[in-house]
Symmetry: D2
Subunit: 316 residues, 4 copies
């Protein structure tokens, strides 16, 4: 629950943005998987880059603490951490206790009665680094089976000067055999939706032709058979009745733009309901979409590995 994702292949993450570290524990990874450190490094790099992307200059070095011996998994929990080497906690002060608009400051306070006021705390996008680690391990497992996951940014306006932009990322899973996904509540599409909507700033999820389906008739929407069990169209995005049908799994996730904008005068609110105009002078993303793509893929990879295990269990 809460900070754990998955049932059989599962990751538990932890960490506040300006605490000692973020990290996670992956439990349920099969033994004898050779860790592809190059892939991991590349995925971490993809999450970190940016034109003017994130300017917080953390190397995001992943330190593994357990579960791996001589580069191979042991089947025991794989714990890792990423130190917050550049906390810059002094960037935050006078306005620390105020609630920013569009952030989780106020909601965490209502949820817990306390919050880590140093940056985004647990709600910071920094947490997604841990998802990328888990996703990289999941991709290594999928690669053995010829399953690959890739993503394309299909909408992402240039951020206006002094403002920010969001976008839409399409993700495709190729090579997934038919039969992955579980009825009734653990449908592949349902689990993907939860995975994507759990990413910070996600606002919408669409499977296959998504919202367009409501503007089609049943005959238009229906994916007709080819004789090899592929379908002539893929409106459903490769999932029928919650289970993969062997076609590419295709889905899109929409992300809203970052709401904190450098040099912007922003109206914060205090515990008593007083509004405080604050000139924001931190370093913030005007366009986080390019580096969110790898997070989308990571969540998809972990979702598929977790559900994939269920099918293995058909005959004891």
């Amino acid at each position: 629950m809460s900070n754990t994702f998955g049932n059989i292949f599962r990751i538990t993450t932890f960490g506040e943005s300006h605490g000692a570290a973020v990290g996670g524990v992956i439990d349920g990874c099969p033994s004898k998987l050779a860790i592809d450190y190059k892939l991991l490094e590349e995925e971490m790099r993809r999450r970190h880059v940016g034109d003017g992307a994130t300017q917080r200059n953390e190397p995001d070095r992943v330190e593994f603490l357990s579960g791996i011996l001589d580069g191979e998994t042991l089947g025991t929990p794989i714990a890792f951490l990423i130190r917050n080497t550049d906390p810059r906690s002094n960037d935050y002060n006078e306005t620390d206790r105020l609630y920013r608009p569009g952030h989780a400051d106020y909601t965490y306070m209502r949820r817990y009665g306390i919050r880590d006021w140093r940056g985004g705390g647990r709600a910071s996008g920094r947490e997604t680094a841990c998802r990328v680690v888990g996703g990289a391990i999941a991709k290594m497992l999928l690669a053995r089976l010829g399953i690959s996951i890739s993503s394309t940014i299909i909408h992402n306006p240039e951020p206006k000067p002094g403002d920010s932009s969001g976008g839409v990322i399409e993700c495709v899973v190729n090579g997934l055999p038919a039969g992955i996904g579980d009825p009734v509540f653990d449908k592949l599409n349902a689990r993907l939706a939860a995975a994507m909507m759990s990413i910070p700033s996600a606002t919408a999820f669409a499977m296959g032709c998504g919202e367009k389906a409501a503007w089609m008739t049943g005959k238009e929407y229906r994916d007709e058979w080819n004789q090899d069990f592929t379908t002539k169209t893929n409106h459903c995005g490769g999932v029928q009745g919650g289970i993969s049908n062997g076609m590419p799994v295709v889905f899109r996730t929409t992300f809203h733009p970052a709401v904190t904008i450098n040099s912007d005068i922003t109206n914060y609110i205090d515990e008593n309901g007083m509004i405080h105009p604050v000139t924001v002078t931190g370093r913030f993303d005007s366009n986080h979409i390019p580096r969110t793509a790898v997070v989308v893929e990571a969540m998809a990879a972990m979702t598929i590995v977790d559900l994939g295990y269920r099918k293995v269990i058909r005959e004891l």
Copy 2:
């Protein structure tokens, strides 16, 4: 997993469309809740109606087997069943073993190596009746706290003659206090997305302004504070950082049209890849959207009750 939804307030459902019964077990419902049988009956009726809606004429009488004494919950599991009184299994014969396009026939076969060929089996929309029972109980719990859930069909074209139509349903939760929802993977929006996408024929989910967020700048999207902690706009749909902020929780779900259409010649496929044109003569929904609304509300209600319990646990 699979046939269980929720963690603390949880429902496990069972049943094939043409087996003996569908039903479920609700575990984690607090004791001493007075069952509002009228509400339950009304919800079941809402799921059953239709212009030419579903023509399978089942009364859908809910029989409770446990967990209730003299109309009050005991805190023990509430089991219920809905007999399939009108199975009409003889409506199905020659073409029973064929895979219909756009259905889960083929995918269940790939998943399990066997399937219930009598109608949709476990993948049938009939299963949603059980969700409505769980949702009704959840609504009774929420009503005690002044939380209400309602839905509006915001798009639903008239079905063309000899065809079918889908639509979009908007759901609003009113009265939900700030502080409901859990970081990181159990965000309220993520859990709602999974809940909605698990409903048969769902294709897209949007929170607040949803996919429009990608066409807005950060300053446009940002929900500014009022002094009473409400916000001037509600683009985020009442959830920030995965936790409710006290504004109405607003989300939309898109559903594709039914793909089996009465009197339609449809290309089925057999196990060997041979295509068989079949004239469909069952009785099918040309427009399932009106009766899906109550299922949307039911899933929302159960999601909120389950997450709501977590907040209760702040201080032992």
Copy 3:
């Protein structure tokens, strides 16, 4: 949780002793298992018999509602119910609201603020009938792999006239390969302990030589190797580090005698702390041990199937 046992192969049970029915839902059973109805019937009979055993004369006919087609499992949830055909609720009246000594009447009231006063309610031994159904299915799965489970009553004094007796049941799992069980908290012995101690009236659990281990030295206790990886002794009961080692899995469970005795004058207590001597005139077990053996085996079978699935998942 609570009314669900197992993670991958899981059973959720429901039902009060004098409600409409008891029953359960088995989720995670692989597809294409042929149901051995004879075995099931025999197991139900073993739970029912008794010299003067239980005198409540229920046939305990198991009705399957879903998950099975033509005698074969579908992979979907297997729901079943056992009607309470002979509720005799009029056996209970004046003293219904009183709390019996040694029963769960008072504790359920403190837990839930309400209780089913008709007999034992949810705490009744009648609930174990559902475990036997789940256990029978699990045994069918294990039989395919040559794994068998049997039990022996190793202590069970003749009940004294007008009194009752408990006993000790030893259970042995033969044919279990090495490698079943999970570190750290899901050790096979830990899971067996929870399974056994969840059976009504269980008071102690011992693995292998159990409590005797504390009276042995390390050299005496240590199970020495044979060259075929069997061990010269089996003090550990076939489990090392929580994982089966290929030797027979051996454990013992102790059960206390029934505390309600026919014709006995018993001191009940009411909500206000007043003691009421009551002459008990129901029909009660003076020796429940013979029919508890099949419950022990059922819980062991489900435990092993559930943990066994984990090992299957070593390589995706």
Copy 4:
């Protein structure tokens, strides 16, 4: 599963004895708990001491990585690690790949096809340090409610020269109100049994009068009421129907002696079934019972906190 204990208050542990670190993540701890570092330190010390106890001289300094700000919990996951500062991996060499008798070397190999041969790996008793951290936090939560947990060594022979001894630890929970524990499978006694039997070298668990119950009649065993709802005897150990009854919760756990003994010639076995007599020259515990007591308490504390939360959820 596996490396996670608990449902609402849950700990996930990780780490091999001679890897970089052991540690854990506690999820579900309420916010605003002041960490009692003194208590934590004292508990860690209790686990470390020994006459000639463990001679591996690790300081076991707990480093918290998240979830705590200014000494107070945030409600977010509490991650901690304990570095293995003194791995002494060179104590292990020639005989590293052999399987010791009475250890988990062979079973881990059968489970995972690979194992950490450096000491006990994941199966090492070192893992219990993480349980003590979780237990200390749980004790802090219980202390606020006046619930205390203590233990007594009730049997623990002096280890013979050149041999080792086991023992029996009795644990008592005082101040626990009636109503904690869940039917049917999450009975307080069942959960305690699993908790205790998951501790390395546990061989038996007894609730209240335990195995003696089988030598008593029903009238002897039955705990009779006093007018204040206490009972005249406490044979059941404070739990009836799986739910606490307000009496002290009393249970005993038996532990076998350590099977690796300093200077002992021990018969190891290799992968091919060849026996190798090895003179053991590491540093090992001849009596681990004194330092196991705090682990027993830790597991009891976490069990009770986790089940305690369930009762809180009676009325939303």
